[in-house]
């Protein structure tokens, strides 16, 4: 190829394409016409074809350096680790506003009320979780949650992944709270006693303040020692009221001073197997923290409690 000859320069892309067997019919004709007159470019074509030949050789050759088998084994173990940690999440519009649901391979690991649907990634980043949006995979969970919020379902039997949930103490609190049945409330002090830390009711409240799984771990069923609602998900006390009402518990008061109506619930003392009217003589002046409170007889009986044989809530039920 003569670099001085403009035709040779112009023909070079076509010539390269021809060497790579990529040239169009028109380009091939152009090159052939030029080659008939230009010995230098004939040599060039041979050289370019030789380079193509070298590349064909390299395609067969093993990759330089490194060991792909070893790298693959290393990758598989990293993938297994990632697979178990990766939080797949979706953001959905619920009756309570935008809500984030995230789950790992082991179970549901995060539920968050969001200020806006764009806040999701930031929330997850703060929790130091590897996360990826995967709405289709979470859709089924959300459907169940929606049914729950519409009152068409009373349980969310989801496997939980509590690995993101701080300390061992917090996990114990969350597990005890999970055991609270639909339509029942208990106090922070009651939960504290149940996990064997009777003086830790403040720590229990703190642990539930950072509940990673609201609704699923029903921290809304845990109230103050006098039945006051205390707090919920930051400043969302009205959501706590809505969730409790959904479960048939009457909530009185207004603004920030809400409380479970102590005269409109059935009482069950500690590990007792019977439930009583609020006026039952057996209650006496025992502290409210000793009781689990039920919004209806149906809810108490759903967990296997029998009506008290002295106050007879079955004969004199509370007004609905």
């Amino acid at each position: 190829m003569s670099t001085a000859n403009p035709t040779c320069r112009e023909i070079e892309p076509d010539l390269v394409a021809l060497a790579a067997a990529e040239a169009s019919a028109a380009a091939t004709r152009r090159v052939e016409m030029h080659l008939a007159e230009c010995a230098e470019c004939r040599t060039e074509l041979t050289r370019y074809r030789a380079i193509e030949g070298m590349m064909a050789g390299l395609r067969q050759a093993p990759a330089p350096g490194g060991d792909p088998t070893l790298a693959r084994a290393e990758l598989e173990s990293r993938l297994a680790d990632l697979r178990s940690r990766l939080v797949r999440f979706g953001v959905f519009e619920s009756a309570l506003g935008p809500i984030l649901i995230g789950a790992t391979e082991q179970g549901v690991s995060v539920v968050e009320y969001l200020a806006s649907s764009r806040a999701a990634s930031a929330k997850l980043a703060r929790a130091h979780a590897e996360s990826v949006e995967d709405r289709p995979r979470i859709q089924g969970l959300f459907r169940e949650l929606a049914e729950y919020l519409e009152g068409r379902r009373t349980r969310l039997d989801w496997p939980l992944d509590l690995r993101l949930s701080g300390s061992d103490f917090q996990r114990r609190v969350l597990e005890a709270t999970s055991a609270l049945p639909f339509g029942a409330v208990r106090s922070y002090a009651g939960i504290a006693r149940e996990i064997g830390a009777p003086r830790a009711s403040r720590a229990v409240a703190q642990a539930l303040r950072h509940n990673p799984l609201p609704i699923v771990v029903p921290c809304h069923r845990v109230v103050g020692s006098e039945g006051d609602l205390v707090g919920y998900a930051g400043r969302k006390l009205s959501l706590k009221q809505r969730l409790l009402s959904l479960e048939g518990l009457r909530v009185g008061g207004h603004g920030e001073a809400l409380h479970v109506d102590r005269n409109a619930v059935y009482y069950c003392h500690l590990q007792d197997t019977e439930y009583c009217l609020p006026t039952c003589g057996s209650i006496g002046d025992k502290p409210l923290t000793d009781f689990t409170l039920y919004g209806s007889r149906a809810r108490a009986e759903a967990v296997g409690l029998a009506p008290c044989t002295s106050c007879r809530p079955d004969l004199h039920p509370l007004p609905a």
Partner: protein
């Protein structure tokens, strides 16, 4: 279900992506890291990939992006060039006889490829080693298929100039004129 599908993706494409990265980076430790990162990213994004996508081209895109980010670090580029200069000197001292000529030609080719601007090197490797089509290459490099073709052409021109008389088809491979 989706995890099984991803295992199949690894099984099918890991070796090739590894080769690609080995060709374009030339530092074994970088290759291991980049290849692993490619597949970890792919795993995270796999769920969002529309069904029927070209998984192979998609993996090349991820690997290519990682390479380009990686090479933005000047220090790395310098180290790699030092490594390469050393190599070039060593190979030039070999006598150009018989198979040694082929070896020398391949060594020179590798050196020229290593000196190519990154986009040309990536485009060239995707086209000439992995035989991806120009549109897939364009996608990886965020340019048109035509630009991808131009990158490959520029690479070939430089290789041709750089090889000089060494551009001879190795024995037993390639198509020679009859």
């Amino acid at each position: 279900m989706a995890d099984q599908a991803f295992e199949a993706v690894v099984a099918m494409h890991h070796a090739e992506i590894y080769r690609y990265l080995a060709r374009v980076t030339r530092r074994p430790s970088d290759v291991d890291d980049l290849c692993q990162e490619t597949f970890l990213r792919a795993y995270r994004a796999h769920a969002a990939l529309p069904p029927g996508s070209n998984v192979r081209a998609w993996l090349f895109t991820i690997a290519t992006n990682l390479c380009r980010n990686h090479w933005r670090s000047e220090a790395r580029r310098r180290r790699a060039q030092e490594a390469m200069t050393y190599r070039a000197e060593r190979e030039d001292s070999a006598g150009p006889e018989g198979e040694a000529v082929v070896e020398q030609a391949n060594g020179r080719l590798a050196d020229i490829v290593a000196m190519l601007p990154l986009k040309q090197r990536l485009a060239f490797t995707m086209r000439k080693i992995h035989e991806l089509d120009y549109n897939a290459i364009g996608q990886s490099l965020e340019c048109s298929g035509e630009s991808a073709r131009a990158h490959v052409f520029q690479a070939l021109r430089k290789i041709r100039r750089g090889l000089g008389e060494l551009a001879i088809a190795p024995i037993g491979t390639g198509d020679r004129e009859t």
